[in-house]
Amino acid sequence: MKLDEFFVTGEPLVYGGMVSIVLVTSAVIFLLTYFKRWGWLWREWLTTVDHKKIGIMYILSALAMLFRGGMDAMMMRIQLAFPNMNFLNAQHYDEIFTTHGTIMIIFMAMPFLIGLMNIIVPLQIGARDFAFPFVNALSFWSFFFGAMLFNISFVIGGSPDAGWTSYTPLSGAAMSPGPGQNFYLMGLQLSGIGTLATGINLMVTILKMRAPGMKLFKMPIFTWSTLVTCFIIIFAFPILTVALALLTIDRIFGAQFFTVTGEGMPMMWANLFWMWGHPEVYIVILPAFGIFSEVIATFARKRLFGYHAMVWSMILIAGLSFLVWVHHFFTMGAGAFVNSVFSVSTMLIAVPTGVKIFNWLATLYKSKIEFTTPMMWSLAFIPSFVLGGVTGVMLGMAAADYQFHNSYFLIAHFHYVLIAGTVFACFAGLEYWYPKMFGHKLNERFGKLAFWFFVIGFHVTFFPQYFVGLDGMPRRVFYIIPEWMPLNVISTVGAFGMGIGFAIFVFNIYYSYRNSEREKTGDSWDGRTLEWATPTPVPFYNFATVPHADKYDAFLAMKKKGETTFDEEKLKPIHMPSNTGQPIIMMAIAAFASFALIFEWITLAVIGLVGVLIMMGIRSFDYDEGYHVEVDEIKRIEREARGL
């Protein structure tokens, strides 16, 4: 392979990307060397198995990916507002909407939520870490390297360009040769394995490591949403693993699953993809529901209304999510009977979702609402999400869907549910739990400014798209007819509003780091659940003594009784796992093998695979059982943290 085929050439934007990547990387390397922080980075972060630190790394990576995906979105909006400028050509536009979709779903929404789960769930259930801390680190690095792999396609080898759904036969070897689609396949595969492992890990954690007394139906609602999400992950991700593997075998080893030749069946890809893809939508929306429930209950200063209904509606949504996948391709021509079945099952999801909306509204009834930034995100979610939800029901009506399908109406719908649901929740959750993670709050003024820019920008961007969709504008076109121009220009203006909102949000992180008051108590918001029972910053072992949590809103009950998580008489040595470099090394080797496979360098890929197997063997012989934190040490740490 020649060098100019290896590196992407001929695009000013790509050259710009290359230069900025080189600059940022060298700046990071320089700073780390200058401040002699390499050892610190390795010991404290790269080898950590602490769920809180791993969660922070997840969130940081997700924010970076939000930036990348957001830039993609901006470029698309610029192109559509000024189609005559030829800012992007067709090929480049295809690449950008593909990476935008893939990154936002796989490398932004999921890691962001998994990051929050990582930090909060063990704290909420009174656990000292995950069930399998080593596996947790492994999951993170598999996500991280998967994301890196996907992102370098921008400068090396060329980005995938068949849409985030990567429909065959377009994405097959015949019609999309070269490494682009392989990047998509391997990037998703690598991070998908990590997600599956996280799902198992969190499920075992929640099922087996809850504080004594905390029955399943006493768990905080965010933990419940995590448990249900894990259930979906465990049953949905293997489908993606197989689908990706089949397409990889098709593309690299010449099989005929989804090809036009050899009697392959291209639509089988769509079938498998959406069998995973639809549950995936709920993987990113259920934790968001959990976050909103926590935030709303906290700042309404009131107990969550209809806790049991909330939990059961989530379980019902999870079950239904596996029964509706065909609504993504009603237009395939499967016949009126098949479409009727899936049309009805799709609309049924509206029922439990509606129940949740009304429960949140009822939580506000007879409450005392405090308009903090996380609460504003949660409140803005309710009306915005309802607009997305009702249009979802309309899309679920298969006969009408023939007109909505692949149009901007659909684009508007899923951005309304995914941004108003997931992205708002990420912001709400991050700002809500920020003091727990970093020991200081985010500035409220900048937070609200970011909120207004983002929320108004969001509606301005996507509300017109419903109408331009009804006017017959299909998705994924890189220029448009004059009739669609005015609404598209409005959309672009809105997108810039969202961009400014995000910029203010990021600035706020820096500003608050410099200026915010440091937290003295661990209970920043007068919280209700156990994560607020620990001091801030949270000691690495989380709880000095694990509380007996037999009440819903366990921390609220503890506060009433005057209990804390530091009972000097009950202290015992705490067993903790040791840090290890194995996860990052193993996944770096796996990324190397994947990279080789992307370019179809089979020998190198096999060498890499053997390397991964050797790392697994080493792990098998690893009998490091961790260490104990002695009682005196705990006392010292807790007294210092609590200012006793």
């Binding site: 593997a245 005929q256 090809t259 009697e263 392959g264 067993h575």
Partner: protein
Amino acid sequence: MSAHEMKSGPLEYRTQEGQLSILGFWIFLAAEIVLFSTLFATYAVLFGRTADAPTPGELFEIKTVLIMTFLLLTSSFTCGIAIHQMRRGSVKGLITWLIITLVLGIGFLGFEIYEFIHYAHEGATLQSSAFWSAFFTLAGTHGLHVTLGIGWAVLLLIQLAKRGLTPVTSRKTFIISLYWHFLDVVWIFIFTSVYLIGMVV
């Protein structure tokens, strides 16, 4: 975590770590069911789409398949005996039966490789049609699982020989046994829905 060790019951469940790992593995197996069922679904949908390649009815031979099935069924049984020996506290019995299991597993693999080569000679390869792609991927994924299981068990045998029965080694042995039985479960479905139905229809 390993602080509160239980005094009675099977060794592998006595530590909390052991319980967590075994439970986690059960959940992993549930994911494996979905993984294999996706392959089965692909196979079922692509059934009959052989293009110009031979049809399964022409190639499948009941004799080879039955031998493979009996080998794997027997290995599942010997694996069960190995766990029985472990619970009686006999390292020697455990190692002996585990080795028998592995030998049977290797025999199974040998037949499978022979079978694949035979089909390839007859013109049915991964590339020849959608049906054969699905067949080789389904059977091959199972074969790959068996191979990994054998490699994993060999590593475990070394640890058993070195350390004897501890909560950790017995936990690992138990998990491998779950894995091995599970591969048998998958094979039963491959035997039934791939080979038998392939020969009938």
